[in-house]
């Protein structure tokens, strides 16, 4: 994750909030799609 996000590993802790790590909204969407494609899973929104 640290590599994909291009942030120091120390910042990617289990309780890290993704939106704190990725401030670019386009990058966040791109990352979400990449992860779903890579792990063959689907993300949805919390309701």
């Amino acid at each position: 994750m640290a590599e994909i996000l291009d942030v120091p590993e120390t910042r990617v802790s289990p309780d890290a909030v993704l939106t704190d790590l990725v401030t670019d909204s386009f990058r966040l969407v791109e990352l979400a799609i990449e992860l779903q494609e890579h792990y063959d899973v689907l993300f949805g929104k919390r309701t």
């Binding site: 969407v29 799609i33 494609e37 993300f43 949805g44």
Partner: protein, 224 residues
């Protein structure tokens, strides 16, 4: 003929929105696995970049320079509905947005004494926009097995509502600048001016035309 301040603003907004769309689709095209959606999304990305160039060139030919805008129209969508988090949501919001774009360009085509450079630019873009709607709609049908038909329909409904809210808000905000645009064609006016203009002297390439109220069920086989 030179551009009025309001026209320059609107053309700059079109340009900015096309650039943002291109950048967004380009990044997604990079993230997706090879397949039909990656294929078409990559073409879509290239089209949007080309449209940004068309507007840049159009503004230049009319003796102006694009206004640098901080954000684009589609940013408002993300603010209204949140970030799309999977391919289906990306395509659903794209479909709703593309229809809004087509509607907006059709309105602009109906402006009296429209400069040929602007009309020609919109005509070129419209050819691509029709395909954008078609491929996204087809892709969403293909995704029904994965996401569920009802879920896709409810997502589209949610985005359509947001689209109406965002557009209404934009009209209020830009009221002074958009006054030169004529009223939107009514859905029942099948021979509206923009539709006639859109089809003049052109052989349709096939597929449905979302701007034309009669083109809803069957692929178009000839000009109406």
């Amino acid at each position: 003929m030179s551009l009025s301040e309001d026209e320059l603003f609107l053309l700059s907004l079109y340009r900015s929105s096309e650039i943002n769309g291109s950048l967004f689709f380009g990044r997604l095209a990079r993230a997706l696995k090879p397949g039909p959606i990656q294929h078409d999304l990559t073409k879509h990305f290239a089209d949007e970049a080309q449209h940004a160039w068309y507007w840049t060139d159009c503004i230049d030919r009319l003796g102006s320079r694009p206004i640098k805008l901080a954000d684009a129209y589609q940013d408002r969508y993300l603010e209204a509905v949140g970030l799309p988090m999977n391919v289906m949501e990306v395509l659903a919001i794209t479909l709703v947005f593309e229809r809004r774009v087509i509607n907006q360009y059709a309105k602009h085509l109906a402006v009296a004494n429209l400069h040929p450079a602007i009309g020609g630019t919109i005509d070129k873009i419209m050819e691509d926009e029709r395909w954008h709607v078609q491929w996204v709609r087809d892709a969403l049908v293909d995704l029904e097995a994965r996401f569920g038909k009802d879920h896709i329909a409810s997502t589209l409904q949610r985005y359509r509502q947001a689209d109406q809210d965002v557009y209404a808000q934009a009209l209020v905000e830009y009221e002074g600048r958009l006054g030169f645009l004529s009223p939107a064609p009514t859905p029942t006016d099948r021979t509206d001016d923009s539709c006639q203009r859109h089809h003049r002297g052109r052989s349709p390439k096939g597929g449905r035309d979302p701007r034309c109220p009669g083109d809803k069920g069957q692929p178009r086989r000839g000009a109406h």
